[in-house]
Every structure is written in structure tokens, then in C-alpha cells.
């Protein structure tokens, strides 16, 4: 996003808001991973503790979800940069 027409006071205000939203965003990703990996990996309710199979699944699922999010973020960021460039050249 382009904050070039924000004065210093407005930029400081936005920075504080963005920091708070980053925290909430992180917590939301956390819950999303828990929900998705639980739903995919846990299907055996004859035991109370996670089986070793379930545990391995959760570990891989979490790691893959993060790497997936990072990759989506990288592509998304490239796309936004292209749009910005195109706007600046016109």
C-alpha cells in the first residue's frame, strides 16, 4: 500500500494499527493451522493422547502450511510490485 500522502503523524498512527493487526493476523494463522491440521490428521478417537502417527502428521501439516503461506505471500508480493510498477510508468 502507498502511504506517501500520509503526514508523519498519520504514518505513526498507521504503524501502530498495522502492528496490532500483524499480531491478530499471526493468531488467526495459528488457529487456522490448528483447525486444518487437527481436522486432517486426527480421526482416531479410541485414544485420548495423540498417536505417534497423528503427531507426525500434525508436524508435517504445520510445516507445510507455513511454507505454503510463505510461497503464496511471495507470489502475491511480486504481483503487487508489478501493479505498482505499471502504475508508476503510466
Amino acid at each position: 500500500m502507498d502511504f506517501s500522502n500520509f503526514n508523519p503523524a498519520e504514518q505513526a498512527h498507521m504503524t501502530k494499527i498495522i502492528e496490532k493487526k500483524q499480531m491478530q493476523d499471526f493468531l488467526k494463522m495459528y488457529s487456522n493451522i490448528v483447525e486444518k491440521c487437527f481436522n486432517t490428521c486426527c480421526n482416531d478417537f479410541t485414544t485420548k493422547a495423540l498417536t505417534s502417527k497423528e503427531e507426525a502428521c500434525v508436524t508435517h501439516c504445520t510445516e507445510k502450511f507455513i511454507k505454503h503461506s510463505e510461497r503464496v505471500g511471495a507470489r502475491f508480493s511480486e504481483m503487487n510490485a508489478e501493479v505498482m510498477n505499471a502504475q508508476n510508468q503510466s
Binding site: 500522502n5 503526514n7 503523524a9 503461506s69 507470489r75 503487487n80
Partner: protein, 100 residues
Amino acid sequence: MSFLGGRGGNPAPSGGVNLEKVEMAVTELDTITDFFNRMVQSCHSKCISTRYAEDDLNKGESVCVDRCVAKFNDVQKKVGEKLQSRGAANAGGGSAFGSL
């Protein structure tokens, strides 16, 4: 991706905070975040195998994610054009607020 229209007006002259401008920026931020999160979820469903036998995205998954992001973005543009051509005002007819 400034689909909320131009960010209204110049900076407040003497270093004050133009609350309306900040609020607009926050709405834009929330919209992009929501868009991003849905893209992550949709592309995860489309591309990531649920066997979870390894920690890394394999080659096929990686390529799929790249294309998925591009397509999701194209769909976002298509839908946006469609909504715009119908007129943002009109589209409000399908919301709860038209019905109260």
C-alpha cells in the same frame, strides 16, 4: 489494488491525523488481508496433498501454488469488473441492508 478509490485528500496541513483517511486505509488493509487469507485457504485445498508425509512442498505442489495465486487473482479482477459494471450502488440490493 486500490479498489476503494483514491485515498481522499492531501495530508492534514499541520501534522494532525485525518481520521477519515486513516479509517479508509484500515478498511483497505482489512480487505487485502481477508483476500490474502482466502487465497491461502483456497490454494491449500487445491494444491497441497493431505498425506503429510514430508515437511516440504514438492515440485508439483509448488508449481500448482504459483499458478493458483495467478488464477485466484484473475478471478478477483473478473469479479470486480463484473460488480463495477453492475454499479456498486445497485449491488447493495443483495445485502441485508436493502432489506431492513
